[in-house]
């Protein structure tokens, strides 16, 4: 009897020692793979000092991003609304939450987020960093409708997670701060920089004459004049990451930035989305109102609505828009599609 107790005691020691020895906290630092074009044209991406990238952190973040247990009834992961096939957005006008509830905003694609230097995320700029953003969907009733304690319990009881958190952060006590840090690390690795137009800029691809004319429409102050808000050959983010009212509505049901700042002058302003990967990200605009790029282009050409906060850069609003010819419209569309990046959506590092 005594002997078996002693053996039992020893085996506990051995087993626990064994599992302790297999865990070592030596996370491997990672430098983002910044595309050459971005290195040449843009300032370095923003990595917060309190959340440096590591191999272990990124791979943990990826696992969490695809894990449905982050939602109330284990039915939705981040990837349900941010699908790699769609440049990390979804195809619905309004994403559907765990209980079938529908929101009022179109999901947003996720890429090149570390270059959003003012760190205002979401259509209305309500989320002030990637880490803080990731806190929100888990408890949002129209998204994952869960409860942090619930999620943490599930993760803590899992056979793998405690060890993975130890490897990434040096503790196997899981808390929400570490969950969002890991997710944000993964999100920062989502870099899209190898579209046909990127290759063209580096001399590795040719554009058709239609695509080239479309680019000129985009850059021409007298035709599209899109570059003032949406980047250019010198700003390969294809967004200014800033907030404008581009003339979608005469009156506002969704106040956008105005609801966040409380300033009526911000009513109807939303973040300029990047024009990369439009081939995969329909429908378009914060409310997903346009199903096709033709509709978007027709809107800018003749469908603008005047309102008090419309951006002065929508300079032809009184005439309905920039009044493009049919040829220029078709070419503009062809150009916009050269900004789509198949390598990005097929990158195995970004898939489950």
């Amino acid at each position: 009897m005594q002997r078996s107790l002693i053996i039992f005691f020893f085996s506990i020691v051995i087993v626990s020692c064994g599992s302790n020895n297999s865990e070592e906290y030596t996370p491997v630092p990672v430098n983002l793979q910044i595309p050459e074009l971005f290195q040449q044209r843009l300032i370095n991406p923003l990595i917060p000092t309190d959340n440096p990238l590591t191999e272990e952190g990124i791979s943990l973040g990826k696992k969490l991003f695809f894990d449905r247990r982050l939602s109330k009834n284990n039915s939705k992961s981040c990837a349900s609304c941010h699908n790699p096939n769609n440049a990390f957005t979804d195809v619905a006008q309004f994403s559907v939450g765990v209980d079938g509830q529908i929101g009022t905003r179109n999901s947003m694609p996720l890429f090149n987020l570390a270059w959003n230097f003012n760190e205002r995320f979401a259509w209305d700029g309500s989320e002030l960093s990637l880490e803080r953003q990731a806190l929100e969907p888990i408890t949002n009733p129209i998204e994952m409708d869960s409860d942090w304690q619930d999620v943490l319990d599930k993760l803590q009881q899992d056979s793998e997670y405690p060890n993975l958190f130890f490897q990434a952060f040096g503790t196997n006590i899981i808390d929400s701060d570490l969950v969002v840090k890991a997710i944000a690390q993964f999100e920062r690795t989502l870099i899209s920089g190898s579209s046909k137009f990127d290759r063209y800029l580096q001399g590795n691809a040719e554009l058709t004459s239609e695509e080239l004319n479309g680019f000129n429409v985009f850059m021409d102050e007298d035709r599209g004049d899109c570059f003032h808000c949406h980047g250019s050959d010198n700003n390969p983010l294809w967004t200014d990451n800033s907030f404008h009212n581009n003339g979608l509505n005469a009156t506002f049901t969704d106040l956008g930035l105005g609801a966040i700042t409380g300033d009526p002058n911000d009513n109807g302003k939303f973040k300029s989305p990047s024009l990369r990967n439009l081939a995969f990200t329909a429908p378009y605009m914060h409310d997903g109102r346009f199903a096709t790029l033709e509709e978007v282009i027709n809107f800018y050409s003749e469908g603008l609505q005047i309102s008090s906060t419309i951006d002065p850069l929508m300079k032809k609003a009184n005439q309905g828009g920039v009044q493009l010819s049919d040829q220029d419209k078709a070419d503009l569309k062809a150009f916009l599609l050269t900004l789509s990046d198949n390598e990005f959506i097929n990158n195995p590092d970004f898939r489950e």
Binding site: F117, D233, N235, P312
Partner: protein, 253 residues
């Protein structure tokens, strides 16, 4: 005896060496303020406050971003270059203040100069990563390089309609004849003399009177020209001329 002489020389060296250190690396702060005439303009005026220019156009301001470069301090002892360029954005408090460091020689008779925009030599397409990231580029079809200024807003036109204006200053370009493209460097140098740089960590305040963009020497009527100005060679020349008296020196203290 010899040792004593060495010792004195040694002390003298230390003494003068220390004295020289007083003129070592110092900090100069710059503060850019904005006004309409004597009426100060800050971020909270954007889209809110109405102004009237010399042509009687009633206007508001949505956005003001501009570039200054080649900041220099010159006195009897030489010229000190203080950094390359600074993008000033009225909606971003942080951009209105910046700091330069250099081996400043204190003098009551310092000349402060800076350039509005970028000189042709510096206005090279795509080379400034900070300005690319800020989306301040000029399309290649308009000569490339960078905007000098984006002043946007709306005004009430002669038929009482609300109209946008995009008062964008760039290097003037006339590309009507693609075989004979004419460009003119419309950036300009602003100079203030007799600035008293009396101490380390001094703050130099410079004001831009936005109303002056529309007058002196040329009267600007937004009814006649308000958008599509980047590709308008003559408009750029007029803007550049009017720009020569938009800046004034406020203080160094």
């Amino acid at each position: 005896m010899k040792i004593l002489r060495f010792f004195i020389i040694f002390l003298l060296i230390i003494f003068f060496g220390c004295d020289n250190n007083d003129d070592g690396i110092n900090t100069i702060n710059f503060q850019f303020t904005h006004s309409w005439g004597n009426q100060p303009i800050s971020e909270s005026d954007l889209e809110n406050t109405l102004y009237t220019n010399v042509s009687g156009n009633e206007l508001n301001i949505t956005r003001l971003r501009y570039l200054i470069s080649d900041i220099q301090l010159t006195n009897q002892d030489g010229t000190l270059n203080l950094g390359n360029h600074q993008l000033i954005d009225l909606s971003n408090e942080e951009s209105l203040r910046f700091t330069a460091n250099g081996n400043v020689l204190f003098s009551e008779n310092t000349t402060l100069s800076f350039r509005f925009g970028l000189s042709n030599e510096d206005n090279i397409d795509g080379i400034y990563t900070d300005l690319n990231t800020a989306n301040f580029n000029v399309p290649n079809m308009l000569g490339g390089g960078y905007h000098y200024m984006q002043l946007d807003g709306s005004f009430t036109d002669d038929s009482n309609a609300n109209q946008p204006y995009n008062f964008h200053a760039i290097r003037a370009i006339d590309n009507t004849d693609s075989n004979n493209i004419i460009t003119t460097d419309t950036s300009f140098v602003v100079t203030f003399s007799n600035v008293n740089i009396s101490r380390d960590n001094i703050t130099i305040t410079v004001n831009m009177d936005i109303s002056q963009w529309f007058t002196n020497p040329n009267t600007w009527d937004l009814n006649l020209a308000s958008t599509g100005l980047m590709g308008d060679y003559d408009a750029q020349i007029v803007m550049s001329q009017n720009g020569n008296n938009v800046f004034s020196f406020t203080s160094a203290e």
